[in-house]
């Protein structure tokens, strides 16, 4: 009797738990959004323009199998959620954001401020915190339309930017979670990938730098390389330096496997002193007509050139972010906080006034490891 009662209760519990399953929507009833684009609209009443890129199965393919095609839809609205509701009205299937891999914001709207929708996007349960943040030089709708024409499965397309960061270091990982964190009491400022249409394709080089909710400026690929080195996100990259043996042809150098960069922030006479020690491994890629990198002297000469190049790049990058953009994207504030034990002590200093006047000391060390197959011709 006891056993029977238990079995009946268990079955009842399971049945009760799944009573709503009958009206759960299946994948065939949903349209998956893979990217969201946000622009400034021309309408005064509806200032936001929302574009969505939807994945749609295409069964008309010659091969007979099902391929995925994407298409974009745009609507003017007052807020993100209203826009989504309007787009839902236009679609037969319910729009779902659980596969959204990119939030594209136009540079125009980013410069005016994104406070009206970024927190709403983060608050959406369907949007994953790993979603990529992109700033588009052109209109976000144009970028998404272009993406739809060049890629069959565009969700992978947006992740490919990040994958390329491992090889080039010209971009870095900019996810929604870190963007949101940087906006709320963090030691760093927010960053997003900078994208633009070039010829018939979409390129992503450099980063969009934010100061609070507003885009403050843009970083180049080389600046991003410096950012990656300072934040220990760097994996490998190729740079060009002055070639002491053949000044007319630049020397291509492969940078890799650095040891952790060391950052020290101190306050001297009310001026911030930021000391950065960076070390990288380098290898010569160039092989011009008569080259010789086998001697100790030539190696030292090239090492000095690489150091000089990197030091100058770091100096430009750090001065641009601190003095021009006033945006601490590296998180020097965290290293500064390390010097003080309590917040009460820290309250005596105002980081926002100290940082733009900061002085940087950059020490670059590189170890020229090899010239690959040949070091002398």
């Amino acid at each position: 009797m006891k056993k029977k009662l238990l079995i009946i209760t268990c079955i009842l519990t399971i049945l009760l738990a799944f009573t709503k399953s009958y009206d759960v929507k299946g994948t065939e009833e949903l349209s998956y959004i893979i990217a969201i684009g946000l622009d400034k609209s021309d309408s005064e009443k509806e200032p936001l323009s929302l574009t969505i890129q939807i994945a749609k199965p295409d069964t008309t393919g010659e091969t007979g199998g099902t391929t995925i095609k994407t298409e974009t839809e745009t609507v003017n609205c007052n807020s993100f959620n209203l826009g989504l509701s309007m787009l839902n009205l236009e679609n037969v299937n319910e729009l779902n954001l659980s596969h959204c891999t990119a939030i594209v914001i136009s540079e125009e709207i980013a410069k005016e401020g994104i406070e009206n929708f970024i927190n709403t996007l983060t608050n959406n349960i369907e949007i994953r915190p790993t979603c990529n943040m992109l700033i588009s030089q052109c209109k976000a709708s144009e970028l998404l339309e272009k993406a739809s024409t060049i890629e069959d499965i565009s969700s992978k397309f947006y992740s490919s930017f990040i994958n390329s960061a491992k090889i080039t270091s010209y971009v870095t990982n900019c996810q929604l979670s870190s963007f949101f964190a940087s906006l709320h009491g963090d030691v760093t400022e927010p960053l997003a990938l900078y994208t633009f249409i070039k010829n018939d394709t979409i390129e992503s080089i450099g980063l969009a730098v934010f100061k609070d909710y507003k885009m403050a400026g843009r970083l180049s690929g080389l600046d991003t390389l410096c950012y990656n080195l300072l934040t220990n996100e760097f994996e490998e990259a190729t740079i060009e330096v002055y070639n002491p043996q053949n000044p007319s042809i630049p020397l291509a150098v492969h940078l890799s496997g650095p040891t952790e960069s060391k950052i020290k922030v101190s306050l001297e006479n009310n001026v911030l002193k930021i000391k950065c020690d960076i070390s990288v491994n380098s290898a010569i890629l160039s092989a011009s007509k008569n080259y010789d990198f086998s001697t100790e002297n030539s190696r030292k000469e090239i090492e000095a050139e690489i150091n000089k190049f990197l030091k100058e790049s770091f100096s430009t990058f750090l001065n641009k972010t601190s003095k021009e953009y006033n945006s601490d994207i590296i998180g020097f504030k965290g290293y500064f906080n390390k010097n003080y034990l309590t917040q009460d002590e820290l309250n005596n200093y105002n980081w926002n006034t100290l940082y733009p006047k900061a002085e940087f000391e950059i020490n670059v060390t590189n170890y020229l490891t090899s010239g690959f197959l040949f070091s002398k011709n």
Binding site: K2, L5, L6, T9, C10, L12, T13, L16, A17, T19, K20, D23, S98, I125, R128, P129, T130, S177, S178, F180, A181, H184, G185, D186, V187, T188, G331, K333, G334, Y335, N337, K338, Y340, L341, T342, Q343, D344, E345, L346
Partner: protein
């Protein structure tokens, strides 16, 4: 108690209490109090909790077969026993109500937005009733297995989110000031909710000599997991000290990705947490039964657990106001547990003195 439990079952029993507290926003409350000094505060409160544990061990030594309810009868006869019993019933009831509320709220927001809250509540209430019918021994045995899985899941969360952490977010290391981290922060000992259950542990044990070992190991492991959770939360979510979110641990699970293949793992973690919730709820309900049996003349008090469950169901439905449950979960829990801890210790001290006096 008709049955006795071993060392591992006892450790798991204390740990499941702590794990559920870790999952249900206790780290968040500690961070709110101590800000960036929360990690140091947890180490400090862990030392305090260990000292308190040693003190409890020395006091309980003379009462190996009695729990705090029996000891209160020895100290202040039936009136004190009834008063303390009611206080403990209220405490366990508040735990059950808040845990059920938190889980149903989480499930409704994330997975079942259109499902009626009654059904979600029943999916917790019915298993608790079944567990109560099966018995405390089975619950504790099952709990041992569940605890291992939950601890492993927490380790996976730590490992899975380690790439997102930024260690400089933890500075200034002592938080707002020393007063808030150490003096006012000592109140965060409430995070070690397992201490309360130590007053009921001794009569359940097969070997009473293991009590001290079990208590210290459980508090140490709890402290370690609390420290890891707080450090991870502080170094990943800088907004955690001033935001209000559904469950901070759930936010962590959303960040976990192991390559291209293992993504969106949050559902697995929530499934495991619900099971651990069942275990914790069933244990708390059984303690209500045990206390109720001692306060009344009922022999088969577990039959009354259905009535208790009915009352809990009604309370959750009646008070839909979220702020009430937040109040129960934070302020009420925080001060009630400290009050109970204090009163129980006083009773134990008096009982020890009384026993010493009787033996002379």
């Amino acid at each position: 108690m008709e049955f006795k439990i071993g060392k591992y079952q006892a450790i798991s029993f204390i740990l499941i209490v702590m794990i559920n507290k870790i999952l249900l926003n206790i780290p968040k409350e500690i961070i709110k109090q101590s800000q960036t000094g929360a990690a140091i505060n947890v180490i400090f409160t862990c030392i305090l909790a260990l000292l308190l544990t040693l003190f409890i061990c020395s006091l309980v030594k003379k009462f190996p077969d009695e729990d705090i309810i029996d000891i209160s009868k020895f100290v202040g006869s039936k009136p004190l026993q009834v008063l303390l019993g009611i206080a403990y019933i209220l405490f366990f009831s508040s735990i059950i109500i808040t845990v059920i509320y938190e889980f149903t709220n989480l499930l409704q927001v994330i997975y079942f937005p259109t499902t009626s809250v009654y059904l979600l509540l029943l999916s917790f209430i019915i298993p608790m009733a079944v567990a109560s019918k099966i018995g405390f021994k089975s619950i504790l045995k099952t709990n041992t297995i569940i605890t291992i899985f939950i601890l492993l899941s927490l380790i996976v969360i730590f490992l899975g989110t380690i790439t997102n952490l930024r260690i400089t977010r933890i500075y200034p290391i002592l938080g707002t000031n020393i007063n808030n981290t150490f003096i006012k922060g000592s109140i965060n000992i409430f995070g070690y909710g397992g201490l309360i259950y130590l007053f009921f542990l001794s009569p359940l044990l097969k070997n009473k000599k293991d009590f001290k070992k079990i208590a210290i190991i459980s508090i140490l492991i709890s402290g370690l997991f609390l420290l890891f959770t707080i450090t991870i939360l502080l170094t990943i979510f800088p907004f955690i000290s001033h935001s209000e979110e559904i469950l901070s641990m759930y936010l962590l699970t959303r960040c976990i990705e192991f390559g291209e293949f293992i993504q969106r793992t949050d559902a697995i973690f929530i499934f495991l947490w619900i099971i651990s919730g069942f275990s914790y709820l069933s244990i708390s309900l059984n303690f209500i039964n045990i206390i109720f049996e001692k306060l009344t003349t009922c022999n088969k008090s577990k039959n009354y657990s259905y009535s208790f469950l009915g009352i809990f169901f009604a309370i959750i439905i009646l008070f839909k106001n979220q702020s009430l449950f937040k109040f129960l979960e934070t302020y009420f829990y925080k001060y009630f547990i400290l009050g109970l801890l204090f009163i129980s210790l006083i009773i134990l001290i008096i009982a020890n003195k009384k026993k010493k006096g009787n033996s002379i």
